[in-house]
């Protein structure tokens, strides 16, 4: 065998280099992400065109969520004006600007300072307090105490002489319960075991109504029982000033960023540059990756393994036994000097002659019969294999 002559092999056609210049290649690489991004942007813009954002929050007059009160505010606006105040100053201004027939609704009053509460209480206007804090209660309706609590929204009946409550009837006013001092001019409605859910105190020229919960006013509960009627009766006026104070702002101060020394702050610029260099240093490859067509890696015994899996999953004992017996016969027949197409009788007779076994037993072992005892279960199959192995050992 002579070593092959070192002739240059024939050129192989370009198999992996994509056609076109670098621009075409770059375009091909980015066009799919570009199309996807554009499609996403268009969809996002289209979706945002139809959407209107509503503020969220408990008893928020603009909120359409279940705990908002936009529905009630819309109803009130049919008969009069609703002026939403976000601070006590705004509320006082609105009350001052309004006419005679005005109702001030105070919700979330824990966000107000004690002096603001006092200022509001001094206004000469009908006031509805929704679940007031203890401070607010003492400012607006001294002599009224929180004496109990039942589940929010529990239905109660008026059982009092207050026209607004009587007209509304049963309403879901369960919440905090109040009891007035015995000597005060207070009317308690919706009584429960430990107090009244709604108390109206009449002062000099104006009334203060305390409602133990804002639940009947919300969008979710407004349509239930007499809730809407009660709310409209309490708030029915030409001008409603709806006070829902915003949370107090944390006073200014300087941010973390401002507190850093100037040098550190300015070092962000070179830091970005240094990180960019780092990325370039580590990320820059020495030339493109080299592609290569790989051959398939499949075992030649794959189909045999597949057959084995099928036999196993179906517990195909009959076929397995048949294959084992056939293998035994094909290996045994040449040793016994028999032709491959020898009759079962001839094979059994030849084997019996060499091993001295019983004909009938051998026939069952080597050929099986109609009621094959070796395919009943897996253990029988093992016995069959053992029997065949034993037999071929003795024939050796």
């Amino acid at each position: 065998m002579t070593p092959p002559a070192p002739t240059a092999p024939p050129p192989v056609p370009e198999a992996f280099e994509p056609a076109g210049g670098p621009i075409a290649r770059t375009w091909r690489a980015i066009r799919a992400p570009l199309v996807l991004f554009t499609a996403l942007a268009v969809v996002a813009v289209l979706l945002s065109l139809g959407a209107e954002r509503f503020p969220e929050g408990v008893l928020e007059p603009e909120s359409v969520s279940p705990d908002g009160t936009r529905a009630l505010v819309r109803l009130l606006e049919q008969d009069g004006d609703v002026d939403v105040a976000r601070s006590s100053a705004e509320a006082r201004q609105a009350v001052a600007d309004a006419g005679e027939d005005t109702v001030l609704l105070v919700s979330l009053d824990h966000r107000l300072l004690p002096e603001e509460l006092t200022d509001l209480a001094e206004l000469d206007v009908d006031t509805v307090l929704v679940q007031p804090s203890v401070l607010a209660l003492s400012a607006f309706a001294p002599g009224l105490d929180v004496t109990g609590r039942i589940d929010t929204g529990d239905a109660l009946t008026p059982e009092c002489a207050l026209p607004a409550a009587v007209a509304a009837g049963e309403a879901g006013v369960g919440g905090e319960l109040y009891t007035a001092a015995p000597d005060s001019a207070a009317v308690g409605c919706y009584p429960s075991a430990t107090g009244d859910a709604l108390v109206q105190v009449t002062g000099d020229g104006s009334t203060t109504t305390v409602l133990g919960t804002g639940h009947p006013l919300t969008n979710a509960a407004l349509s239930a029982r007499g809730n809407a009627a009660l709310a409209l009766n309490l708030l029915g006026a030409d001008q409603v000033v709806w006070l829902r104070p915003d949370p107090a702002q944390v006073g200014g101060g300087s941010s973390m960023w401002d507190l850093l020394p100037a040098g550190l702050r300015w070092s962000v610029l070179p830091l970005v540059a240094a990180l960019g260099l780092l990325a370039l240093w580590r990320g820059r490859r020495m030339g493109a990756l080299v592609p290569e067509a790989l051959p398939v890696a499949v075992r030649a015994s794959e189909t045999t393994e597949g057959h084995a899996g099928l036999y196993q999953s179906r517990r195909a004992r009959d076929r397995a036994a048949d294959a084992l017996r056939r293998g035994f016969r094909e290996q045994t027949a040449p040793k016994l000097g028999l032709a491959p197409d020898a009759t079962p009788e001839a094979v059994v007779a030849a084997v019996a002659e060499r091993t001295g076994d019983d004909h009938a037993r051998l026939r069952t072992l080597v050929y099986g019969d109609r009621s094959d005892p070796f395919t009943a279960d897996d253990r029988s199959l093992v016995r069959l294999a053992d029997g065949l192995d034993e037999c071929s050992r003795r024939l050796r």
Partner: protein, 432 residues
């Protein structure tokens, strides 16, 4: 453009400098950035241009699988600046070309770098390009360019069965009567007359010639020479399956090469054909001498195709293009019952009527091991499936033998010598 770790270090030093600069931070930041940009830009501009580099290659073109090829790449730097940096000679992953190497080429000089390829796969490997990264004098940044330096290295089949060649050749010489043991040749073709030497078979004494001369003269015999052999390699889907860790195709190639080498020495003419649905490679014997190097060369780029072979096309190719003389057709394929019964068996009579046909197949030892599994009931199902496969193989073998075809069925270790033995036996029997 490429930067080095030194540039990154400089960047982070700039960060530290600005961070401790205090009140003049804004100025310090701008100055640091400016200095960084100027230094990097200067280094890029001052680096020797990799584009101007001249490349030249020399070295091995072919090698056997398992050996290493050494290639030399000469970098000539015609610029007036010294080139300092890195070079990566890129090859397909299976060529195992090694990582990048540092280089220094002074201005106007040349340097040589050596690439050692140790391919793990047969076939052609093409150089993918030489990437040169030229770093500037400060070592901060540089320029990078991928240059083209075309070269192809062909990895030939390993021919492991070469080690069997001496033994088989001595068997062949035994046939020819040239063996040192002075065993009479068993050939059937008359060769020459020579003087009787004690130990020669008295039956071979030529009495007529003896009567003419002084001494006793014997006839010598030699096996037939100048017979034609066609080795057909099936490259269809059945050749893709791996026996051990190597595709069946490669085992078949090994056996075919031993046969070709042996037949060449025996004075027969060997043709080669690789076929699945069309001719993949073909070598026709031209004149005397060994065809092995040409066959090896033709085998190198062959890969198993994932298509069903077309035996009808193969038979007509064998009958059509290879002349009308009787020859030995050795078909290296798999004894796959389904594929053979559907395809080859009906077409065989056309072939056997004109030629002597031998089918050689690589058996899978894994199937034999499966057939012997007895550990549990699940193992028995595997054993049964393996017995089924073996049984089908036996059936196809019997079928082929009935049609007058010689069948060689052996595991990868023994297929090459078994095929050689079968060939020698045919030669001894004068059946070629």
């Amino acid at each position: 453009m490429a930067v080095t770790g030194r540039a990154v270090l400089a960047g982070f030093l700039a960060v530290a400098a600005v961070a401790i600069s205090g009140a003049v931070g804004a100025w310090a930041s701008v100055v640091a950035l400016g200095v960084l940009v100027v230094l990097v830009a200067a280094d890029v501009l001052l680096a020797a241009s990799p584009r101007a580099l001249r490349l030249a290659r020399e070295g091995d073109v072919t090698l056997r699988l398992g050996d290493s090829a050494t290639l030399h790449l000469t970098l000539a730097n015609p610029t007036r600046r010294p080139l300092r940096g890195w070079v990566r000679d890129a090859w397909p992953p299976s060529a195992d070309a090694g990582p990048r190497v540092p280089v220094q080429v002074p201005a106007g000089e040349r340097r040589r770098i050596t690439t050692t390829l140790t391919p793990t796969r047969r076939g052609d490997a093409r150089a993918a390009g030489v990437t040169v990264r030229s770093i500037g004098p400060m070592g901060l940044a540089g320029r990078q360019r991928t240059l083209s330096a075309e070269w192809t290295v062909r990895t030939l089949p390993p021919f492991h069965s070469r080690r069997h060649l001496p033994g088989k050749l001595s068997r062949l010489r035994e046939l020819e009567g040239q063996h040192t043991a002075m065993v009479r040749g068993q050939g059937s073709e008359f060769d020459s007359l020579r003087d009787y030497v004690p130990g020669d078979d008295v039956r071979s004494i030529d009495w007529r010639a003896t009567a003419r001369g002084d001494g006793v003269v014997v006839r010598t015999w030699r096996p037939e020479r100048d017979r034609r052999i066609l080795i057909v390699l099936d490259t269809g889907r059945t050749s893709a399956g791996r026996v051990g860790d190597t595709p069946r195709l490669d085992h078949s190639m090994d056996a075919a090469l031993l046969l070709a080498a042996l037949a060449g020495k025996a004075g027969d003419r060997v043709d080669f054909l690789a076929y699945d649905r069309r001719t993949r490679a073909q070598v026709r014997a031209s004149g005397k001498g060994s065809q092995v190097s040409r066959i090896v060369e033709a085998m190198a780029p062959l890969e198993a195709e994932l298509v069903e072979s077309d035996p009808a096309g193969m038979v007509s190719t064998v009958l059509g293009t290879q002349g009308r003389a009787r020859r030995l057709v050795v078909l290296l394929t798999d004894l796959n019952a389904a594929a053979l019964e559907e395809g080859l068996l009906p077409k065989l009579p056309a072939l056997t009527s004109r030629h002597m046909v031998m089918v050689a197949a690589v058996a899978d030892p894994a199937v034999g091991a499966m057939a012997a599994e007895r550990a549990s009931a699940d193992a028995l199902y595997r054993a049964a499936a393996a017995e089924r496969t073996l049984s089908e193989r036996r059936r196809v073998t019997a079928e082929l033998r009935r049609m007058g075809v010689e069948v060689v069925d052996a595991d990868p270790e023994h297929i090459a010598p078994a095929l050689a033995d079968a060939y020698i036996n045919l030669k001894a029997q004068g059946r070629l």
